[in-house]
Assembly symmetry: C2
Homo-oligomer: 384 residues x 2
């Protein structure tokens, strides 16, 4: 059996690292922003266009695929890579976060989380064991331990109890994964390679609990570590402080994944702190609402002032949308509620995010000082 | 001033012709199926993909663009080619048909048609003169005379009165066009070329009126002729009979355009009768409803029987959808109400229509007998 997963740091610049992951479906250069393909599609974007944009890894959501078309269906079809015809890397979340945020009726016990489907109200249970079974059946390259995402705000005792539960679930996740990892649909055809299971650090907004969670998760031992429980409503200064404190507690030779982040200036900021992987629905969801990220700040394309604007969306962007269409046309498509608005807006926003990450990576490799990392203008934070 | 518009018949096979139109924005091989890009977008399909599909000419709807973003807006932006970033040929309808079918409150007088916008209820008047002004401002390569599309069913006296009105409007359309054709936005930059104004034959379901309309429209004189007033609810045998009777009355050296047609087997049938141009929302609209045209008949992709089907949509199709994705995946996208379903379904249906027309053209050029024109299987007519 050859190595299923590897990660190499190739250059550093302060805390920031440029690295390279190798998964059973190819290489991923880090730091990397991973587009979200909820139900095995990045909304509105064909797979060949994702390739053209340089996407090396994308997300699928276990909760959604579990409900539709179902894990056994995907397994029968050879796993999610074959199902969605995407031969590069894929990561799945554990389903835990989605259950917390989407299900009205959920109940957490030591065993796991019982919940009702947002589609038809049917009853289901996710546990560390079932989350592993689902993620193995779906067959992404990187899968996540089943955790409890602590709500915000939460008291310290509640947060600690939640963290302890996540640690017990991490052990159970690892045990279940080790027992069944050979059941991934592409095990034989990929030279008996298996998936990589990442652990998740919780601990809410308490630095000491974050520290304890990090140390004890590392003790269990995973090929990569995620920081979970952020983007739950806390102030972004809090996130930044906790991430900065936690990163040094994680092994240098393993990838670090900050879940559910963020705005363009945030993904740059966290890459500087030594985060290697990030994902967020923001570029794709914002695109659907006509909110576009550019080198000149963000803009809301439905604004009347773009109706006669013959210029490109972003004069400094070389994506196919900026090279071909005017703001006036994009504004017209959005105002007319045309599907092409979503397709083109999403194409640009993804291009902007991926390009931002590539420039960060390049700066790290060239050893440029941190000031020369891409500057993301403040309008991102204020203007709409 | 060089020639603005030309049409050459390059080969014939029975009544069918293979020809070539040259417009100020390039060549169009006929017979041709023209995708409908209502508000300057073929719903969900980026322009580079239309180019890849081999689209040489597409439609814009004057009514829709007149209301949003407005003719003066498009003129200011250089015309619809620049506006939508499409440098190949475009045809606009006159707005007449849309007014008849979309406006609740319309009133026809000798002057024109007054109507209320379906968007905001505002009052407007379309006349031959204003329809020419709108179409010149939008700046398609081929524009249409303003006509009255006679409703179905209609009595003979009513149909004759309507036909006479259309003939008077045809004269007025031509006069207005000749007086203002140099005002097209790209007049100077395209070497003082202007648009081509086509006449429209009406006459309802009465062969004698169709004949009279054809003869008197030809007498007025246009560089191309359309058959209007079909696809209004009449039986398709009736359409076929009237088209077959009318085509021989039109000049051999001018393109013939059958408006608003049709199913795959119909576009083949009408090309055989000597029709050179057709347009229809069917391939794009059907795609949005999951109805897909294939060499094996048509299929409704949401059907449960496709949930585990790993085969391509159409094993005989070489479009990028059929080459990459399985029916199971397309079914999943449709069942999940994903935008990518519309993008991929539309891509395939357009590819199927364009490919069908290319094969018809090839058969005419090779002088194959009519039996060897592409056979479109009967399931198109029955199964869903």
């Amino acid at each position: 059996m050859s190595m299923s997963f590897s990660f190499q740091v190739e250059a550093t610049q302060g805390a920031a690292r440029a690295g390279r992951m190798i998964t059973p479906h190819g290489e991923v250069e880090t730091p990397v922003f991973m587009p979200v393909g909820t139900v095995a599609t990045v909304k509105g974007i064909p797979q060949d266009l994702l390739e053209e944009l340089g996407v090396q890894i994308l997300l699928n959501n276990t909760y959604h695929l579990y409900l539709r078309p179902g894990v056994e269906q995907i397994r029968k079809l050879g796993g999610t890579h074959k199902f969605m015809s995407w031969d590069r890397s894929i990561l799945t979340d554990s389903g835990g976060f989605q259950v917390f945020s989407l299900s009205e009726l959920r109940k957490v016990t030591e065993e796991g989380v019982s919940f009702r489907s947002h589609l038809d109200g049917s009853s289901h249970l996710f546990s560390p064991e079932s989350a592993m079974a689902s993620q193995i059946g779906i067959g992404a390259d990187i899968i996540m331990a089943f955790d409890e995402c602590t709500e915000y705000p939460a008291e310290r005792t509640r947060t600690e109890r939640s963290m302890e539960l996540t640690l017990r679930w991490a052990e159970r996740s690892k045990n279940a994964f080790e027992a069944h990892k050979h059941e991934v649909p592409w095990f034989a055809e990929r030279g008996k390679k298996s998936q990589a299971l990442f652990g998740i650090v919780q601990g809410g907004m308490f630095p000491n609990l974050r520290k304890e969670s990090a140390e004890r998760t590392v003790e269990i031992g995973f090929p990569g570590y995620a920081l979970g429980g952020f983007s739950v409503g806390e102030p972004r200064e809090k996130t930044a402080e906790l991430v900065a404190n936690t990163v040094p507690l994680l092994p240098e030779n393993k990838p670090r994944y900050l879940m559910g982040v963020g705005y363009p200036e945030e993904i740059v900021q966290y890459a500087r702190m030594g985060i290697d992987m990030m994902d967020c629905v923001l570029p794709t969801r914002a695109a659907r609402h006509g909110l576009l990220f550019t080198s000149e700040g963000r803009l809301t394309i439905k604004n009347q002032r773009f109706a006669s604007d013959e210029g490109p969306l972003d004069p400094n962007c070389s994506c196919k949308v900026c090279k071909r269409y005017s703001r006036a046309y994009l504004r017209h498509l959005y105002a007319s509620n045309e599907v092409l608005a979503q397709v083109l807006n999403t194409t640009h926003n993804l291009s902007y995010y991926l390009d931002t990450m590539r420039r960060v990576r390049q700066a790290i490799i060239l050893g440029e000082n941190s000031v020369s990392l891409p500057v993301v203008r403040s309008p991102h934070l204020s203007a709409t």
